[in-house]
Symmetry: C2
Subunit: 418 residues, 2 copies
C-alpha cells in the first residue's frame, strides 16, 4: 500500500471520454490498494477561453478578478472526474483550493503556495475515498482566489504530495517521460528512466517544457519522488501497474540513480537577446546600477559576462534577456545611462542558448572542452558561455540551434541505438 | 442615496458586449450616488452545457459534485462584470458564495438560504465599491458548494437585499415587467406598474415565469421592494434613472398600491393531469393514506376535491398532479390500494389550470361567479375549482387554455386600451 498523488494535465481531461479514461487510470491505483489523491487541470482550451474573456472585459485587468474567473476551469474538471470515478464504483469527492485550504501568497496570477492543510485530505484518503483536487488554484491571505501561473497544476500536485507525505507524485501528461532532448529536433532522443532533481530543474529552467520549474523546485526541496508518464497509455497497458518501473521517467534523488551518465540531457531556449554595455567605469556598485532597475521591472537577466577593457580603467558588460523583454530593457538602461556610465549600449536579437546538463560533470573534467570542440568542428560560433557544477550553457546564433543540439546529443553519447 | 441590489439574468450577461451593457446600467446607479450590490447569473447557455457534462460523466450524479461544477458559471460572470466595471472607472470586486459567506442548508441542487453574513458586503459598499456577487450559489454546513435551483439567482438577489437592508432589489430580465397575463397568448396584456407580494407569489406559483417562486416568498417575508425591469433598455433611456417610477413592475406591500384592481392578473399552467379515486371508504385517515405516500415521493398534489357518493357510505376523491408525475403517482396509489380502499382509480392527462388573481377579491363578492358565467358562455367545461382569499383556480381541458385566458382577461377589464 502506498499513498500517491496523480496529476493530469489539460489534454488528459479535454473531454468527457478522456476524463473517463483518467478515471480508469485512478481506479487501477485504487484497486492496487493505494490511497490516491488526484490533481487536475482545466479541460484543454478552457483556460485560454477564460483568459480571452478577461482581456475582452478589461485589457488592463485586475489580477484578482483574472484569478477568480480563470480558476473556474479546474473547478469544473475536479467535479466531473469525481463523478466519472463514482460512475465506475470508486468513492471520490472534489476539493477546491479554499476547501482544503491551499494557501498562497497574495501574488495573483503567479502565486506561491505558502501552506497546505493536509488534515482533511488525509482523513478523506484514510476512509478510502479518492480526493480529486482542483489544480492551479489557491486562496490568498485575504480569501481571494489565486492561481499559480501556467503549468501551476504540476506545482499543486507536488505540493499536495509533500503536504500528505505521499510516497510519490505521478505527473500524467501527453508525452511518456523526460527525453535527453526534444525529440521533435533530435529523433534519436531517448526517454530517460531516471533523472536527478537537480538535473530536471536545469532541464525545466532551460527550456524543456515537461514540467513547471517551480514544481521541480518543490519536489527537490521536499524529496517528492515524481514520475512523468503518459495518460494516453491504456490504463491496463503492460507495466502500468508496476510502481517501481512504469513506462515513464522517475525524477528522484541522485542516490537512486545507479549508473549515472556524465551528461543526462541537452536543453535549449530560443528567443534570447543580448545586451552589451561598452566602456563602463569599473567601480564598485556598477552591477547594482545596471541590474537593480531591470530586476524591479521583472526582467530576467541571464548569462552575464564581464571583461576588462583594453586600457584597464573601463570594463565591458554583456548579458542576455528574453527577446520579448529586450526593448523594455534597453529603454530602462537608456534612462539610467548616467548612473550606469556606459558609453555605448548595443543589443542584438536572434540568439539561442544551448545547455549540456548532467550531475556526472561534477566528477568529470573536460566536459566543456568536448562541447567547444564539437561546435567548432561544425563552425558554430560561441558568443558567451556560463557554467555551473552540473551544466554548461552556450550562447549561439539561433539559426544553428538544431545543429548544435544534435551535435552535442551525439558527442555525449545520448543517441539511442538505431 | 439609496442602497440597492441589481440582479441580472443569463441572457443579460450572455457575452462580453452584454456584460459591458450591464456595467453601464450599474454605473448609472453608482453615478446617482447609490450604494450598489450586483447579483449575476451565468452566461446564457453555460449552465446547460455544464449540466450536460455532469450527466455525461455520471447520469446518476452526486448532487454535491453537480453543484460544484454548475456553480462555476456564476463565478466566471461575477469576475467578468467586476472587470467590465473597473474598465469604465467603477470600483468593483467579485464575491463568491463562500467568500460572503452565503450559507444554505445541505439540500444540494435546490438548497435554501439559511444565513447571509452581510458584514463584509456592507463594508465593501460603505467604501464606495460595487460588490458583484455570484448568484445561484452558496455553501452547505460542511463547506461544500450548493446551488439554489433554476432561477436561484433571483433568490440570491432578494436574499442579499434583505441581508443588507437594501432599499430595493432590481431584477433585470429579458422582459420589461410583470404582465396581466402572458402577452404571447393575449396581446392585449398590460404591464402592471405595481403588484402586491401575495399576488406575485400566486402569479409565480401558477405559471408566470418572470421570477422564481422562492424569491417572491423571501421578498414578501422580508418586505424587499422588488422591481422587475429589462436589461435590454438602454442604460440612459428615459425614466431609467427615476428610482420611484422606472419602466418596469414594482412588487411591493399592498399598502403601496393606491388603486387596487379587483383582479390583477390571469395565470395558467398547462400539463396538469387528474386522478380520481372512486368509492373510497369514508373513514378518518383516508386522506393521509392517499397523500402521505405521494408527498414522500415529492409529487406535488394540487386542486383536491372530495364528494360524498350517492349512498353516503362511500366517497370520491379527485386531485391534480403535474403530467410528468402522473404515471409515478398512479403506480404509488396502486401499490397502496389496500389501505386506500378505492374500488376504481381513474386518471386523465391533457388538462390545464387557469387562475384569476387579485387582492381585491377579498372585499368583492361575485368574482368567481363572473368567471364561471364567462367560461360557460364560451362552452368551456369546468372540471374542478379551488379558491383562496385572493385567487380562483379552474381546471379545464388544455385545448381551451388560450380561449379561457383571453375570455377571463377581457371580462375582468384587464385588456389594454387599443
Amino acid at each position: 500500500m502506498a499513498r500517491i498523488v496523480m496529476k493530469f494535465g489539460g489534454s488528459s481531461v479535454a473531454d468527457i471520454e478522456r476524463i473517463r479514461n483518467v478515471a480508469r487510470h485512478v481506479k487501477r491505483e485504487v484497486d492496487a490498494g493505494n490511497q490516491v489523491a488526484v490533481v487536475v487541470s482545466a479541460m484543454a482550451g478552457t483556460t485560454n477561453q477564460l483568459i480571452a474573456w478577461v482581456r475582452q472585459a478589461n485589457d488592463n485587468y485586475d489580477p484578482r478578478e483574472y484569478d477568480s474567473v480563470v480558476a473556474s476551469g479546474e473547478q469544473v474538471t475536479s467535479g466531473l472526474l469525481a463523478l466519472a470515478l463514482q460512475a465506475i464504483g470508486v468513492d471520490a469527492r472534489s476539493w477546491l483550493g479554499w476547501q482544503i485550504p491551499l494557501r498562497t501568497d497574495g501574488n495573483h496570477n503567479s502565486a506561491r503556495i505558502t501552506d497546505i492543510d493536509g488534515t482533511d485530505l488525509i482523513a478523506c484518503l484514510e476512509k478510502g475515498q479518492v480526493a480529486v483536487i482542483a489544480g492551479f488554484q489557491g486562496i490568498a491571505p485575504e480569501n481571494r482566489m489565486t492561481t499559480l501561473g501556467r503549468g501551476g497544476s504540476d506545482t499543486s500536485g507536488v505540493a499536495v504530495a509533500a503536504a500528505m507525505s505521499a510516497d510519490r507524485c505521478d505527473i500524467y501528461t501527453d508525452v511518456d517521460g523526460v527525453y535527453t532532448t526534444d525529440p521533435r529536433i533530435e529523433p534519436k532522443a531517448r526517454r530517460l528512466n531516471r533523472i536527478a532533481f537537480e538535473e530536471m530543474l536545469e532541464m525545466a529552467s532551460l527550456g524543456a517544457k515537461v514540467l513547471q520549474v517551480r514544481s521541480v523546485e518543490l519536489a527537490m526541496v521536499h524529496k517528492v519522488r515524481t514520475f512523468v508518464r503518459s495518460s494516453f497509455n491504456a490504463p491496463d497497458a503492460p507495466g502500468m501497474d508496476d510502481p517501481l518501473n512504469p513506462p515513464g521517467t522517475l525524477i528522484c534523488d541522485e542516490d537512486e540513480i545507479m549508473e549515472q551518465q556524465v551528461v543526462t540531457g541537452i536543453a535549449f531556449a530560443r528567443d534570447e537577446a543580448q545586451i552589451s554595455l561598452r566602456r563602463l567605469d569599473d567601480k564598485p556598485g556598477i552591477s547594482a546600477a545596471i541590474f537593480g532597475p531591470l530586476a524591479e521591472a521583472s526582467i530576467n537577466v541571464d548569462m552575464i559576462v564581464q571583461n576588462i577593457s583594453e586600457d584597464g580603467s573601463k570594463t565591458d558588460m554583456t548579458f542576455t534577456v528574453p527577446t520579448v523583454d529586450l526593448d523594455k530593457a534597453v529603454r530602462i538602461l537608456e534612462k539610467n545611462r548616467r548612473s550606469i556610465t556606459s558609453e555605448v549600449i548595443q543589443s542584438e536579437k536572434g540568439l539561442a542558448k544551448v545547455s549540456v546538463i548532467g550531475i556526472g560533470m561534477r566528477s568529470h573534467a573536460g566536459v566543456a572542452a568536448t562541447a567547444f570542440r564539437a561546435l567548432a568542428e561544425k563552425s558554430i560560433n560561441i558568443r558567451a558561455i556560463t557554467t555551473s557544477e552540473i551544466k554548461i550553457s552556450i550562447l549561439i546564433d539561433s539559426a544553428y540551434t538544431e545543429l548544435a543540439v544534435r551535435t552535442l546529443h551525439t558527442v555525449y553519447g545520448l543517441d539511442k541505438a538505431s
